[in-house]
């Protein structure tokens, strides 16, 4: 593996100039990627670092010496000797107009942050460039789909700015190709194959389109259902509880309630990807069916609530009776393949340190 020369950003081979500073870059890097590494703050709207650059919004423009018009930095490859300016009055003016145009098409500029991971991107840029002027009012985005009855994904295309991040994440990251772009210009519309509801398309409800949308046009309906739960939204990094891939997630909580899941863009196993289970099947933990007290079978043959003390006494006596009467090889334990590793360790110690047997298994055989 040591002869791999193209990995990392540490094999810088060439130099260019960024705002007057000489900087190194690796062949193949875009001007945007180089600028990011050197902490320039170039605004973007159609960019998602996991996807192929698209060059649609032109917000990421920079000036390159020798070229008359500014160029989109996300689609321009860095070249040796290139002289790039990322910040200037002219650039700011261009960006402001672009943002005013983009914003003019949308019904709402501000959406609830529960809408999705990137849902505040556009609003943040509008503030940064002081672009809430309403100068070009009257243009319009796509047509919303309030009729789609799916319980997960809001499809409010009146807030769509045609960055196509959703279409691209669906195709490039998920490989699902459930949605596509219809028409051009002001008639642009994101649709499914037969312009129907998502459930009838190839959509797997992975939620990735929600999480990359920079305006909240696509939004997380399950999280939004909790938007009035009082308190600050807190994020806790953990791992999805379903399959063996082990996707990293940030659990969104308000008070003692889990209100949603955000994919962790830096999760080592998933890099921001999730499936419908990891994204949406989180609220079982607050379900009313959860056991909240130990239960002990009474003389009437029924299970009754009990204190930990009573339940532990009863369980210990029952298990010990078997061991006393029938020997230590009469007690068997089964560890969980769903619980944390510490549970499995404790279970094997239970039989080995407690009984001196290996009468244990986990649920991997069925």
């Amino acid at each position: 593996m040591s002869d791999n020369i193209d990995g990392g950003g540490n094999g810088a081979l060439s130099t260019m100039t960024l705002d007057g500073e000489d900087v190194g870059f690796t062949p193949g890097e875009t001007v945007y990627e180089v600028s990011e590494r050197y902490r320039r703050e170039i605004p973007t709207l159609c960019y998602d670092e996991r996807l192929e650059p698209f060059g649609g919004c032109r917000l990421c423009i920079v000036e390159v010496e020798g070229s008359h018009n500014p160029v989109a930095s996300c689609t321009t490859k860095a070249a040796p000797g290139m002289k790039v300016t990322t910040k200037s009055g002219r650039l700011d003016m261009h960006r402001r107009v672009l943002l005013e145009l983009v914003a003019s098409e949308n019904r709402d500029l501000d959406v609830d942050p529960m809408s999705g991971y990137a849902s505040g991107e556009m609003a943040t840029l509008l503030d940064r460039y002081d672009a809430r002027t309403g100068r070009f009012l009257g243009m319009q985005s796509g047509t919303s789909h309030p009729d789609d009855p799916n319980p997960f994904i809001l499809r409010d295309y009146e807030n769509c700015i045609s960055c196509f991040r959703c279409v691209r994440v669906c195709a490039e990251q998920e490989g699902d190709y459930a949605i596509s772009v219809m028409n051009r210009g002001f008639g642009t519309q994101i649709t499914t194959e037969f312009d129907g509801i998502l459930k009838d398309s190839a959509c797997t409800f992975c939620g990735q389109c929600i999480q990359t949308c920079p305006t909240g046009a696509l939004a997380d309906l399950k999280a939004l259902a909790s938007k009035d739960v009082p308190g600050e939204t807190k994020l806790t990094r953990t791992i999805c509880p379903y399959c063996g891939v082990g996707c990293s997630v940030d659990l969104m909580t308000r008070g003692d309630q889990v209100v949603g899941v955000l994919p962790a863009m830096d999760g080592p196993a998933n890099h921001g990807a999730l499936c419908v289970k990891g994204q949406f099947a989180f609220d079982f933990i607050g379900h009313k069916d959860r056991l909240d007290t130990p239960l002990v079978r009474g003389d009437d043959g029924q299970l009754h609530p009990a204190t930990w003390d009573d339940a532990l006494d009863k369980a210990a006596a029952g298990l010990l009776a078997a061991v006393d009467n029938h020997g230590r090889h009469s007690l068997y334990v089964v560890a969980s393949g769903r619980a944390p590793t510490e549970a499995a360790y404790m279970m094997q110690k239970f039989v080995r340190a407690g009984l001196g047997t290996s009468y244990i298994d986990n649920c991997s055989r069925a």
Partner: protein
């Protein structure tokens, strides 16, 4: 997995067998789709025309339970065409000559007779995998849940060993683990034959080591598997303690399983919900759920990752480790004083060579893939790069074996089981999450449209499906995903307890249940 998940977009030839990855490991499947976009070739072997089959360059629709025959046919072609990696075989394997002779007997035409896959397609798949620069194999329970599960895996290993597709980026033999922490449970020693870190129970040195650590002499003999234990319930086995498993619904042959658990003198269950299994218990302990506990879990690529508590548990529910240690103390067992998950994890690292160098504070970076043999070791994303754990890779002279039960006049249809995207196992969790019902609200039996007609059924009508052990009533779904003569369903819904039917046999070595094959009859209600 021998290779990391991050490798999945790197092979130039991918061989998926017995894995419905787009539904069972969706995020992993995105890596394969990226590899395809980069021009990789995809070989898919599965009895059902799953979504992966739509993406395949060659699809091998083998009859259920004939994996070994398919793999032997492929090995035959690779040998015949001189595609073996002789240098790799010489340097890293043994029994290679015997194996190459062995496979002479199994031309693709022979494999076609048994598997039903056209010989030409077997030939094509073998040529691609044999010529691959970076050939990777992915498999799941479709390979292992058979009476010949071990042979099937050995058959895959043979292909790997003869072509040297291992120990390099984008290659390897990669089982995808089904449950979030089935890997961690095995790592931690929750197995009848291994101490933590897969240290054999039958090795006297390990016995001595754990005797010192635990202050208790542990049997030098292996314990018994759960399958055996269930068979001995009411006889030698008199009491059980089950943590977080809905045994009754997830295990094969429900009637047998229920009888076994009922025959116990005493049953203790710890779980989130009052499952069908917990309902049989004498004592039920409420445990803390995901999102409520700190700890670790280990994924299918051996990556140790950190779980965190975000909300309190309902009522007095407690973490599993707390419940187990409290019960141990109550029973007078020594060495069960713990403050928290971190302390338990550190003890595991101390006693397990593969976790030995893991630092709890660094687990949150998610950078550890075991083995991590000593402090400061960065972890091992790829296994077998220089040598195999036990020295040389050994070829196994596997043969094709029929499933425990085969179709006959009374039970003329093959039933195979699995999972669907929007449900998970017995649905104790997905079934209680809002909205999931919209995607999947009831069980169905997937039947080829021509069979639906021939058997006097209709799409969405009710059918009675029976095996030698039991019957269920289930709704019919006509779909070309099922081949003629084979039907598919899951064990996710309590009202269609499919495992009342399964359970005809077990792999004699691992005792894994043959959940993937069961002869049944399907008739209109």
């Amino acid at each position: 997995m021998s290779n990391p998940l991050a490798d999945m977009d790197k092979p130039d030839v991918i061989f998926c067998i017995g894995t419905n990855m787009t539904e069972c490991h969706p995020v992993a499947a995105t890596g394969i789709k990226r590899a395809l976009a980069n021009g990789a070739k995809l070989i898919v072997a599965d009895p059902r025309h799953i979504v992966l089959a739509d993406l395949a360059d060659v699809y091998l629709p083998l009859r259920v339970g004939t994996d070994s025959a398919l793999l032997l046919g492929m090995a035959h072609v690779i040998a015949r065409e001189g595609l073996v990696d002789q240098a790799f075989m010489d340097a890293r394997t043994t029994e290679g000559m015997a194996f190459l002779e062995h496979v002479e007997r199994f031309p693709p035409e022979w494999a076609e007779e048994i598997t039903g896959v056209p010989a030409a397609d077997i030939e094509q798949a073998a040529l691609w995998y044999g010529r691959a620069e970076r050939g990777a194999i992915y498999y799941t329970l479709g390979v292992t849940e058979h009476i010949c599960g071990v042979e099937n895996v050995q058959g895959l290993c043979n292909l790997v060993l003869m072509t040297g597709n291992i120990g390099r980026e984008g290659t390897g033999i990669n089982p995808m683990r089904g449950q979030n922490n089935i890997q961690g449970a095995g790592d931690a020693g929750a197995l009848p034959n291994n101490y933590p870190g897969f240290q054999p129970v039958t090795d006297p040195e390990n016995q001595e080591k754990f005797e010192k650590l635990y202050g208790k002499k542990v049997d030098l003999e292996n314990g018994i598997t759960k399958v055996t234990a269930l068979e001995m319930c009411g006889d030698q086995i008199r009491a059980m303690f089950i943590d977080g498993e809905n045994t009754l619904v997830s295990d094969p042959d429900r009637a047998h399983c229920e009888k076994a658990l009922r025959s116990l003198d005493f049953l203790v269950v710890a779980d989130l919900f009052l499952t069908e299994t917990a309902e049989l218990a004498d004592v039920v302990f409420p445990v803390a759920a995901w999102g409520e506990v700190d700890g670790t879990q280990t994924n299918t690529e051996r990556r140790i990752q950190r779980l965190r508590a975000a909300v309190p548990s309902p009522g007095v529910a407690r973490p599993d480790w707390w419940v187990i240690s409290a019960l141990a103390k109550r029973m007078g067992f020594q060495g069960f004083e713990y403050e928290g998950a971190e302390q338990v994890f550190n003890e595991l690292c101390e006693v397990s060579p593969i976790y030995h160098g893991v630092d709890w504070d660094k687990v949150e970076e998610g950078a550890y893939q075991w083995p991590v043999p000593f402090d400061g070791h960065p972890g091992t994303p790829m296994l077998h790069s220089d040598e195999f754990v036990n020295g040389r890779g050994i070829f196994n002279l596997v043969e094709q074996r029929d499933p425990a039960e085969t179709v006959d006049d009374d039970y003329p249809v093959w039933l195979t089981t699995g999972r669907r995207l929007a449900s998970y196992h017995t649905r104790t969790q997905t079934g209680r999450s809002a909205g999931i019902d919209y995607l999947l609200s009831e069980e169905s039996l997937e039947i080829h449209p021509d069979d639906v007609d021939e058997w006097g059924l209709a799409d969405r009508s009710w059918a009675i499906m029976s095996s030698r052990r039991g019957s269920v009533r289930v709704r019919v779904k006509a779909t070309k995903r099922s081949p003629r003569g084979t039907v598919f369903t899951t064990f996710s819904f309590a009202d269609v307890p499919v495992n009342a039917l399964t359970g005809g046999g077990y792999d004699p070595i691992t005792q894994t249940a043959e959940l993937k094959v069961c002869p049944v009859s399907v008739v209109p209600e």
